[in-house]
């Protein structure tokens, strides 16, 4: 940010408006094309595609949550997948309770896997999940509380940089191991699946799928506006300052750990919402969502799209996952990991600001003289002390 520029930047800016228009347009258009047009029509969007696109948008929201802390606070969390999975499990537990007597064993209270394990009663932590508002609150609370406790310890002790990355990775790895255990009461290896309905609507029905898609798109739009608001506020300015010179901010009198913690918790809640929307559309949640490799992949989406641009993160998530769907289903499947790996290397080497970041920089250079208010603070350029 140039010091001479005293204008209060717009909440959204042109780029932001374009992004919002696209997302909200999708929220309307995709369900409409799915539900209103006959199956034979050229413009008809098949239901599987609605769910697939919904999945991409969940990933986009997840990437947004990573960009908030990585792009603007410099916290590289390798455990963001854990928050996503926790939100997903909260939703999955609600959906499991909705199955009722329609399960294989027909037990009105216990989910199938508990009957299978000869459990006699519902574990205490499953209470309340048959009530949607409670489950919805847990979608935010479970990841939020974990982030609060974990972050409180970590930031107060000034664990930074790669050390923080490694302990977040250890955190998600520990959760992965824990959720694999049958004794934990979360379905073990198989996770939670076989969902029937959500809020009384059949989860397989076209209408439900379309509504879930629209909700996901709206959640993404809302998440974007929230993040945008945060990073444009005074609070966000402090976050960016922390990213670029943490010690200097601390010496200026700010409680760095509180700012970091707040951003971390917001980010975890966003990831939790993404997970909760992901589960009904994909139809399963299992411990593999906790695997450290998943969390690292999220980072790539953000890096590809453009770190510190918010919209870029969402773009990167959709692009990389579209490529993944495209390549892993065709003849090129054995080469997908080569491509993903190559993408990691190429983006970090040649496109350090990502697709959107590079584009914005190019546009800002073209209209030189008038500093582009939309231009994100470029994290790649900032000189960091040698580590």
């Amino acid at each position: 940010m140039s010091q001479t520029d005293t204008r209060k930047p717009a909440l959204l800016g042109t780029g932001g408006l374009v992004f919002l228009a696209i997302v909200i347009g999708l929220a309307v258009l995709v369900p409409a094309l799915n539900l209103l047009l006959p199956a034979g029509s050229a413009l008809h969007v098949p239901t599987y595609l609605v769910s697939l696109l919904g999945k991409y948008l969940c990933y986009a929201l997840l990437a947004l949550s990573v960009d908030l802390i990585w792009g603007y606070v410099g916290i590289l969390s390798l455990g963001q997948g854990a928050f996503f999975a926790l939100g997903g499990y909260a939703m999955g537990m609600y959906l499991m309770r909705q199955i009722g007597t329609r399960g294989v064993y027909g037990d009105p209270v216990l989910p199938d896997f508990m009957v299978f394990l000869n459990w006699k009663e519902l574990p205490w932590f499953w209470y309340g999940f048959d009530w949607f508002p409670f489950a919805a609150a847990m979608v935010l609370l479970a990841p939020g509380l974990l982030a609060l406790v974990f972050g409180w310890f970590a930031f107060r002790s000034r664990v930074t940089g790669v050390y923080l990355s490694i302990i977040t990775q250890a955190m998600t790895f520990a959760l992965l191991l824990a959720f694999f255990r049958n004794d934990m009461g979360f379905g073990g290896n198989n996770g939670l699946t076989d969902f029937k309905d959500i809020l009384g609507f059949n989860i397989q029905a076209d209408g439900t799928r379309a509504a879930l898609f629209a909700l996901t798109a709206l959640a993404l739009a809302g998440g974007y506006v929230l993040c945008r608001y945060l990073v444009r506020s005074h609070f966000g300015k402090v976050l960016i300052a922390i990213r670029d010179a943490e010690t200097r901010v601390r010496f200026t009198g700010y409680r760095v750990e509180n700012y970091k913690l707040a951003a971390f918790v917001v980010s975890a809640c966003l990831a939790g919402i993404a997970g909760a929307l992901y589960v009904p559309q994909v139809g399963i949640i299992n411990p593999s969502e906790f695997s450290p490799a998943n969390s690292i992949e999220i980072i790539v989406w953000v890096a590809v799209g453009g770190r510190g641009t918010l919209a870029g993160a969402a773009l990167g998530a959709v692009l990389v996952n579209y490529a993944k769907t495209y390549f892993t289903s065709g003849m090129l499947a054995p080469y997908w990991l080569f491509m993903l790996g190559g993408l990691f290397v190429a983006v970090t080497l040649f496109l350090p600001k990502g697709i959107l970041g590079t584009f914005l920089e190019w546009r800002a250079r073209r209209s030189a003289g008038s500093p582009e208010p939309d231009a994100p603070p470029a994290p790649g350029i900032t000189a960091k002390p040698a580590e």
Binding site: L76, F150, I166, G341, P352, P385
Partner: protein, 537 residues
């Protein structure tokens, strides 16, 4: 090896006989037994077998075997016994010499009925107690200890009287005590003494004997047994901890091998190398290729295959490391988090490359003969493979320490670790040091792969399973200090194995992860942090 009771009575008599009657050169129990075979009576044959069992003559086994196979021939008129060999030749049973000029057609085979066959089985079992090979005698004594068959007691006493090897003698005494302790016929004092003998053995089996006393045992025996049980359990608990510490050391040395290369690249360059695990994997696959080549071209060298693989793996993975450093990492200095992503990408490429070349399934890497087998130290079971890996890890550690302390490149690495810009100002080519460090770290990972190929599945995912643990070791131990890595690896390894019996493997692992996370809060730079004045390092 159960002995039927009629035979035991015979053995008892014969054992007494053997101890009472002075042995004459021409009429020992062996010769007496041979004489009894010639009478063509089942009763005498059975008695002869009893004599053979305690005779201690090395040819007794051969005679019993021949009888079992119907190859024992007698000449009743001459009173001679012959053994027919597999090739049809005859040997004099008394002398073992080939019998020349004997008409095989005139000889009769010694016949057997069920009683004799029972005696044969019993005799060959009891003969093991008198087998000339001490290892066989030991095995026989341990078998008696397990069966606790009271009818063997006479043979056992006879064997005990003759035994000279201390270890076997002790095993025989323990076996005897195990029988006496449960026998109501034995005097009370003798049974209490037997309790003491069993307590000396002090292992799980001894515990089982003491815990399964017959209900009618006298109170004094029971009291003695109870205190002996408590003593054994105390000892076993200590040995149990020792066993877990041993497993922990073994796991710790594996962690040390996997983490030590990471520690120097991380310490010197501040670079998180996510492809480090894949370097370990490449080392393991190098071992596989070396072994395949040896199998194909020179199988005699197989025992040396690991020794050959070590330098090759070091050079190969080291070269890959230098290539990675020169082509990718050197452009990312000062951006540790980006390096993490790029190296993760490299790790995906390497994994997939190996999967494409060698297939996704596990590859078989053989163990050389000197690495297989077990030795008992006290109540510890020590496998040679694990022991060698501990030795190997320590050697690698010492070698690396020596490189860092004693060589010029080591000095330069330490200088760069402490203060990169100052080192550069003093004329150290930090670029070159970086490349060498990365090569060295990767090469050591390759060596670790050679060792890990012995205890883990050699698959494209091998590296993945070690990378998180290795990071924890480095972070726990502290960066830039090899001793920190050593202490970190060993404490995590031992803590893991000590937690396992209480919490189970998975919960123990989770507990350890939580402990390390909490520890990092307490000491964000690890156990052995580099001291410096930099506020941000």
């Amino acid at each position: 090896m159960r002995l039927s009771s009629p035979l035991a009575v015979l053995l008892l008599g014969l054992a007494l006989f053997a101890t009472l009657v002075p042995r004459a050169a021409h009429a020992g129990p062996y010769e007496d037994a041979l004489a009894k075979f010639t009478t063509e009576s089942y009763a005498d044959t059975a008695a002869a077998l009893g004599l053979l069992a305690t005779s201690g003559n090395p040819r007794a086994v051969e005679v019993v075997d021949a009888l079992a196979d119907g190859r024992l021939l007698v000449d009743p008129a001459a009173g001679k016994v012959y053994i027919r060999g597999a090739d049809g030749s005859l040997a004099d049973a008394a002398s073992g010499q080939p019998a020349a000029g004997v008409d095989a057609a005139a000889l009769k085979a010694v016949r057997a009925n069920n009683r004799v066959r029972g005696a044969i089985a019993a005799a060959s079992g009891a003969l093991s107690l008198f087998n000339p090979d001490p290892a066989k005698r030991l095995a026989a004594a341990q078998a008696v200890f397990k069966s606790r068959d009271a009818t063997v007691l006479p043979a056992l006493d006879a064997a005990l009287a003759k035994e000279t090897v201390p270890a076997v003698k002790q095993a025989l005494a323990t076996a005897r005590a195990a029988i006496v302790i449960g026998s109501s016929a034995a005097p009370e004092a003798e049974r209490i003494a037997a309790v003491a003998t069993i307590a000396d053995a002090g292992d799980q089996d001894a515990l089982a004997v003491l815990q399964n006393l017959p209900p009618d045992a006298p109170a004094s025996v029971k009291t003695a047994a109870a205190s002996a049980i408590a003593g054994i359990q105390r000892t076993l608990a200590v040995w149990g901890v020792a066993q877990n510490v041993w497993y922990g050391l073994s796991l710790g040395s594996v962690l040390l091998l996997a983490a030590i290369g990471l520690a120097i690249t991380f310490g010197v360059m501040g670079v998180i190398n996510m492809a480090h695990g894949e370097m370990v994997m490449l080392g393991a696959y190098t071992t596989f290729v070396v072994q395949e080549l040896i199998r194909a071209y020179n199988p005699a060298l197989f025992d040396a295959s690991l020794l050959i693989a070590i330098p090759i793996a070091f050079l190969f993975t080291g070269l890959i490391g230098v290539i990675i450093e020169r082509t990718v990492i050197r452009f990312l200095y000062g951006r540790a988090l980006e390096t993490l992503l790029a190296t993760w990408g490299i790790s995906l490429i390497l994994q997939q490359a190996i999967r494409t070349i060698f297939g996704p399934t596990n590859r078989e890497v053989g163990a050389p003969s000197w690495m297989s087998g077990t030795v008992d130290v006290g109540h510890l079971a020590v496998t040679y493979g694990r022991a060698w890996i501990i030795v190997f890890a320590i050697l690698v550690f010492l070698a690396l320490l020596a490189v860092l302390r004693l060589t010029r490149i080591g000095l330069e690495m330490r200088a760069v670790t402490q203060n990169r810009r100052m080192a550069a100002s003093m004329g150290i080519r930090t670029n070159w040091v970086d490349a060498m460090t990365f090569g060295l770290g990767s090469g050591i990972a390759g060596i670790a792969g050679v060792a890990l190929s012995q205890i883990d599945n050699v698959s494209p995912n091998l590296g993945q399973s070690y990378i998180i643990d290795s990071f924890l070791v480095v972070v726990f131990g502290g960066v830039g200090n090899l001793w920190g890595t050593l202490v970190g690896a060993m404490s995590l390894g031992i803590a893991n194995k000590l937690l396992e019996p209480y919490a189970g493997a998975v919960l123990g692992k989770i507990a350890l992860l939580v402990i390390v996370i909490l520890f990092i809060q307490k000491r964000p730079r690890g156990l052995f942090a580099l001291k410096g004045r930099a506020i941000e390092a």
